[in-house]
Symmetry: C2
Subunit: 418 residues, 2 copies
């Protein structure tokens, strides 16, 4: 049983936006014990869409398309599907009703009957869209399945969730296997060092359990093993054996999590469990640490707030960094980081205050303090510690690395506290 | 002349990361008057890579691959290329030297001669990687070109920039056309309304100049026209005609920019030109507005800082929002937004203070103040104005929409000031 994705959109091939529907579909399928075989991206021309359908249907039983279902003239997916399936587009009362429901859901007047949404290739059915206006499409013929959704990721996701299981999964032979990605997240160690230096036998040990992957992120590597099992008992058994291998590996000290929880989710969970309040004094990260934490629902229990102290005047007036420190050591210094962390903790009444001051560039570097330099201060239980790093990369990457460094230190401090 | 991209990586088909190399390559090609024809994503198996090469080389003269060049055992791109091109992998002194240079650039000891980086399919050449360790690959045969780069976007990008022009572009027939994407950015109007209600003849007028696309974003639609011309004079002429069409359209009031500048870049540019200082009091956006602004190099000239006032205690202690306001109207109210904007402007000594207070959910909503409600305060020249919106979406989308709403208002205020 092979499943392929055809992404239709000039905007992706012209670099205006990045595709995220592959990720959405892949995660959805794994959660249903299925795998995505391949994705193809083609432009908004009927010929290219036909080529994509030819390629994917030559090896897949199920093809999902995204994009080109909207009301504008560059939306040609329906025309392409009609000609590929040797069908004709015609008015469909059912499609009109589905489109009307989509509009009513947003308290909008129903579309007129000559609206493109009311027209479908014959043999296709229209699907309700719970997050947008354009109906999805479905057709099934000789053991092949086609599901078409809008390109907007929110709408593509809801189309999958609303229709994939009932229209396609329920008709396919039941998956005989459970599939799970076992993920282990490491910090502060490069990929090559893990498998060449720290634990040269690790890869082979893991490969005995399933296909292994190693995914380097900003300042961390995720190691993944794709586990397959016939029963949930067998799955649990494999997972516990794998965990033992990792815990006995020299890599153990670099592991910060077994599972797919993000760093910010883990921080929120630990802080909430321990009822430890925290916040940031952000200079070079400019709000990114706070943004990452506040993307996690429930963070407000213990994340109280932050000061983005970009200008020196804000560092001194709000955080109480002394003018002397700024004049003598500069704002990018151990002393400033220490005073910023203490300042934000005291002003906002936090148990833990984390400060980040550094140079994200591209300008402003010197031989003493090059771009990529960062000081991260951790104020907790009455005292500050300051960590000094130098990272490579450009402005946006450096902001990401700085924030990752700060969040690692915050997690360690949270896990240390009793 | 067709160019295709083959992305190799289970991590993408398993949903662990999203592809961004398509976007990088597409933008690089357009800047060189070329277009990306198609992208295909396949897993880390030799058979799948061969299928991808078959599909892309059947219609393309140039195929670029990304991924699978690293040192771990799931990296099989070299093996797949060798067998597809009927070549053998062998030690290459040249590859050893290229790899050594890659290591020396990071002050790391050179790899041993049995390192996988020193082995290549015969007939291929190794390419220096200016941002990582793994060498890229190049081969040319019977008018077909293959360039392989690492999957890490930073490394893929530098491989393109360092080698694509000299190895491939210089050998291709010179592009006879200039290509440019003419982009117009609109705000606060849905895609369907633009072309069905506000200006029903717009699409056809634009289509006379080139292929038209319409790309809905968070709270805005970008309209793009792909212009082709034989000379830069013809190109400029087309652009000025297009601009006139837009300026005479009823859509004109919704246009906030002609070009591809991002909202945050435009804000930084206008604020710096006018020397107007600004900052945010962020509640529900949790630092996102500040993060977006500080992603723009040069923002520190006029962006002074922000307060992320997540907890009520921070709203009152740092921003001076009165306890009465919080008790009587709650933190998500016009009154709180007004006091927050004024508070941040006065405390941080800003010309413009922008506040954002709302409910990003999923919890905390009520019938009076449902999730998606936001109040945005603009304090400037001694007085506050507060704007009230209600947006659809989930937590992360809402944070994006709230921040977009705040940045639109900030830009309008900056453009209004003299």
């Amino acid at each position: 049983m092979r499943i392929g994705l055809l992404i239709i959109g000039n905007e992706i091939l012209q670099g205006k936006i990045s595709d995220s529907n592959t990720t959405l579909l892949a995660r959805y399928l794994i959660a249903h014990n299925r795998e995505l075989s391949s994705t193809m991206v083609v432009g908004d021309e009927i010929k290219s869409i036909h080529q994509g359908l030819n390629v994917l249907f030559s090896s897949c039983d199920v093809v999902i398309t995204s994009g080109g279902l909207g009301p504008t003239q560059d939306d040609v997916t329906k025309e392409a599907l009609a000609s590929w399936f040797k069908s004709n587009i015609s008015y469909s009362q059912e499609a009109f009703e589905v489109a009307s429901k989509n509009y009513q859901r947003f308290n909008r007047p129903v579309p007129s009957q000559d609206h493109p949404y009311c027209y479908l290739p014959q043999g296709f059915i229209a699907l309700e869209n719970s997050t947008g206006f354009a109906p999805g499409l479905f057709m099934q013929s000789e053991g092949k399945y086609l599901l078409s959704g809008p390109g907007v990721p929110r709408e593509f996701k809801s189309l999958l969730e609303d229709h994939f299981a009932s229209l396609i999964l329920s008709q396919l032979p039941k998956s005989e296997e459970l599939i799970e990605l076992y993920t282990v997240r490491t910090k502060r160690i490069p990929e090559e060092k893990i498998f060449k230096v720290v634990d040269p036998t690790l890869w082979e040990k893991l490969a005995a359990f399933g296909s292994v992957s190693s995914l380097p992120h900003i300042m961390g590597v995720d190691i993944g093993v794709t586990l397959k099992a016939q029963s949930s008992r067998e799955m649990e058994n494999k997972k516990s054996q794998l965990k033992k291998i990792f815990l006995h590996s020299p890599l153990a000290g670099h592991i910060w999590h077994f599972g797919v929880t993000s760093l910010e989710e883990l921080i929120v969970r630990v802080a909430n469990e321990k009822k430890i309040t925290y916040g940031f004094a952000e200079s070079c990260t400019g709000g990114l640490c706070s943004h990452r934490i506040t993307s996690v629902s429930g963070c407000s229990q213990t994340f109280l707030g932050s000061v983005v102290s970009y200008a020196e005047s804000v560092k001194s007036s709000i955080l109480g960094v002394s003018e002397q420190t700024l004049a003598k050591f500069s704002a990018v210094s151990e002393q400033a980081a220490s005073e910023m962390a203490q300042g934000v903790a005291q002003k906002l009444k936090l148990d833990i205050g984390i400060s980040i001051t550094g140079l994200a560039g591209p300008g402003g570097g010197s031989s003493l303090t090059p771009v990529g330099t960062v000081y991260i201060g951790v104020w907790a239980r009455g005292k500050s510690s300051v960590y000094h790093y130098h990272f490579p990369g450009e402005r946006e990457q450096l902001k990401q690395r700085f924030s990752q460094g700060a969040l690692y230190l915050l997690l360690e401090e949270l896990q240390r506290e009793n």
